[in-house]
């Protein structure tokens, strides 16, 4: 990435307008940040000219690399570039609010189904699907990483060590994560000329 979003001089955009723009994005964009790329571009770049296309791409790439949910981090970065820290807070709060409200209402009105009932059976198979989804997500992350073969072997070893340590030896997940992260940072090397971006960007 050659450029990074710099806080620009604030355009004439009020906090209420900022909140409304991100509320609309949060209410209408489905499928995560990358799936919503066109809608984001239409709203922020084409319709309102708040950021350039290049800034949008740079912010999306950066959002994928910092420890935070990508779509939210992107919203926070746009908000920051327009109105500083307050803008960042407002943008990402209003971005998550529509989805969070729907989730809240849904969990309040639904309940845990008894085994053998329609709801209970559906919840059970959804649980199975999510177990598969987690495993699939883990595989996809490891597959997409741009590292050498020797580093990939080490990485797969670290991947296996975490569940074995936690479920096999009762070690703390946090401890295992920190230790393996440090070990990985020491041992895992990228393929020369490749960037870590590509692996990170392909996951959603």
């Amino acid at each position: 990435m050659s450029s990074t979003p710099e806080p620009s001089s604030p355009p004439p955009l009020g906090l209420a307008s900022l909140a409304w723009i991100f509320f609309k994005l949060g209410a209408l964009a489905f499928g995560g940040m990358w799936a919503a790329m066109d809608r984001i571009e239409k709203e922020l770049v084409i319709k309102r000219g708040l950021i350039t296309k290049e800034q949008q791409v740079a912010m999306m790439m950066t959002a994928a690399l910092i420890p935070a949910p990508k779509f939210l981090a992107f919203g926070g970065m746009v908000g920051y570039s327009l109105r500083g820290y307050i803008g960042s807070c407002i943008a990402l709060t209003t971005l998550i609010l529509p989805g969070a409200s729907v989730v809240l209402v849904a969990v309040m009105v639904s309940r845990l189904g008894e085994p053998g009932t329609l709801l209970g059976t559906v919840q059970h198979t959804v649980g199975l699907g999510i177990v598969g989804l987690l495993i699939g997500n883990a595989i996809r992350m490891a597959r997409n990483s741009k590292v050498s073969w020797s580093s990939r072997l080490i990485g797969c070893g670290l991947w296996a060590v975490v569940p074995i340590g936690v479920h096999g030896f009762g070690l703390s997940l946090l401890l295992m994560a920190v230790v393996t992260l440090a070990l990985g940072a020491w041992l895992i090397q990228p393929i020369p000329g490749e960037s870590a971006h590509q692996g990170a960007l392909s996951d959603e």
């Binding site: 806080p7 994928a64 420890p67 949910p69 969070a100 969990v107 598969g132 992350m141 975490v162 295992m176």
Partner: protein, 176 residues
């Protein structure tokens, strides 16, 4: 709702804030930490956890909004608000720092991402095992898990379709 007396809104905010640090590269690190802190020790039913996560995939906006449902299950409405704050506060700080100082830390972040990819894969596998263990899975049901994993990892199918398909299959099984 589960045993709300053992987990307060501040605990919810703390765990969600901590879990946000493991979202590097879109890794859904929240899932692993929530599983470890609440599902594993029996404070949250695995089915409720999976249910909130599933709903989160069907709503607009960031998929991480499912944490609001988890917060509600753990500590009611204050828990839901705490979960939201637990996501918003560290993300706004991280986004602001990244906007300001990204170039300075770019190399370190890139290097950590390589390692984090595998570690978060391990955390997700840990969460998957922890979620599956109390579910009393019968042999035939492993096919659903394998199919979902393949569909996501190799076919790139969106999570929404996988969860929707699993729900439809559940309804079909119930009808039969």
């Amino acid at each position: 709702m589960n045993d709300a007396t053992t987990v307060g809104a501040l605990d919810v905010m703390g765990v969600i804030m901590l879990s946000t640090l493991f979202s590097l590269g879109g890794g859904n690190g929240q899932i692993a930490l929530i599983q470890d802190y609440w599902v594993g020790p029996g404070l949250l039913e695995p089915a409720l956890f999976a249910w909130a996560y599933a709903i989160g995939n069907f709503v607009p906006g960031p998929k991480v909004s499912f944490v609001t449902g988890i917060g509600y299950y753990m500590a009611g409405i204050p828990g839901a608000i705490a979960a939201l704050l637990g996501i918003v506060i560290p993300t706004s700080v991280g986004a602001s720092i990244a906007s300001h100082w990204y170039l300075k830390f770019q190399r370190v972040i890139n290097h950590m991402t390589l390692s984090a990819t595998f570690v978060i894969a391990g955390m997700m596998t840990t969460a998957a095992y922890g979620l599956a263990r109390p579910m009393e899975i019968v042999w035939g049901e492993y096919a659903i898990i394998v199919a979902a994993a393949i569909a996501f990892a190799w076919k790139g199918l969106d999570a929404m379709y996988i969860i929707g398909g699993s729900a439809a299959l559940g309804a079909l099984i119930w009808l039969i």
